[in-house]
Amino acid sequence: MKARLLTPLSIILTLATLAAGQDIASFEKRITLKKLDNGLTVVICERPEAPVFSFYTHVDAGSTQDPQNQTGLAHMFEHMAFKGTDKIGTKDYAAEKVALQKVEVAYAAYIQERDKRMGRDEQKLKQLEAAWQAAIKDANQYVIPNQFSEIVERNGGENINASTNDDETNYFYSLPANRLELWAYLESERFMHPVLREFYKERHVVIEERRMRTNSNPVGRLLEQFITAAFQANEYHRPTIGWMSDLNSFSATDAQKFFDEYYIPSNMVVTVVGDVKAGGLMPIVEKYFGRIPSHAKPDERTTTEPPQNSERRVVLHEQSQPLYLEGYHRPDYRDPGDAVYDAIADLISEGRTSRLYRALVRDKKIASFSAGFSGLPGNKYPHLFAFYAFPLPGHKPDEMAGAIHAEIDKIKKEDISDDELKMIKTRAKANLIRGLGNNEGLAFQLGVAQARYDDWRELFRQVDRIDKITKADIRRVAAKTFVPENRTVGIIETAPPPSAEPSKGGE
């Protein structure tokens, strides 16, 4: 019995130890914030426990910023940021530069002929395509493949990667603490002198990514069509991976224009966390990153989604497991009710004590899993709060809808219990502490908070906001948001096995 008590005791003691010093006051002492003259925001957090550091470069541009007819470009540029610079990844940049310009001229001629609405000359098109491919072959002779990543890895780099979503793009990796100046050199060069070499080869990688994650994946297909149905005006209706025809059309010149507009110091936050001293690191950061020319922040306007006034439905018939998904429009992360949505997501989804698990999985035994969450497809702009369930064999998506709506009605009409409210608040604190557990997680969270609120302290204030939530807040926000006319439904119905008909062609 004593031994059984020890596990929760040790968890509490560990959390208590971690929690000590995980508040704003303790971070104030360790964090240095500076906006460089060129507009770049730098956040440095001293955490000397081990001689390593992690960083996140946050670029305030995601697929929402993709230009018209060029969906997928933000994500494409993320891939290109690993291709090197005018000094890294090339055998002879002067010659390569000329060769790359020829690739662009040849591609523009090819695309112009390919996209003619009338009078396309097929013979000429073949010649233009061959000329473009020949130009690519010529440019490739100067490439040293993967040199940027190899330099990082050779110097002890870990987890070198990047991510793009609807709202932003992030670049990150970790290095030993004595590689700070090397990091500052590599990261600043990457965003000062990027060279979009091997662009069309990498475009194929992205096209394959789309085929794998969306075209060949029933859940991917549903999600894409569901989001497209829910957002008709706002830029969220465009997939981050991009539409296939756009992927097959945009050029390295288009990607360079995107880079020139959005990868500017005033649109970026660089966060470094680890065994660093701000007094020593800041001059290094200024020396390297301060070289990037300043520009005015890009236009931040987006199209406002008009209110939805009736339910929308997307139904796919697929030879796959069925799925039920529904989403309700909600305001963006700056809304005063933002923390209440987080509390609702926790109440219905976190663990085996959550309401959806207990109702659909444990008691009714109709679903293998069910949960709800905010942030679909992003959260910088008004977005969706979604609920979903995977039906067990013999059960239909409509049963999921009924069971989920019964749980939503309870949240709208009845106060949650004291225990549930206490659990939500405890878990919010535990989740924050867990997120700060390593340098990389902390760098990411500080960077996003700084970029979104212009104040990294907001990372900690979210817990305070959850702490102030009342039962009435939860009822009020649920009653306002979870109404049928604000709902978009996405369903995968299991289709019978195919007959002898030819298969549906992908893109």
Partner: protein
Amino acid sequence: MKRPRLTLIAFFIAVSGCLAPQPIAAQARDWTQVPIPPLSAFHPQEPKLIEPPTGMIIPLP
């Protein structure tokens, strides 16, 4: 008259050289030129050990 002046100038040049803020080393033009200092010694923090009567040992960082 000339000598003391030259000495004075030389003195001021020398002093100003010492008192001027140390310039930050020039930016490396190539990644191979970036200086990499030795990694400082790593002394991990000793965990606090809690030993309940059951004999279990709980290390707390």
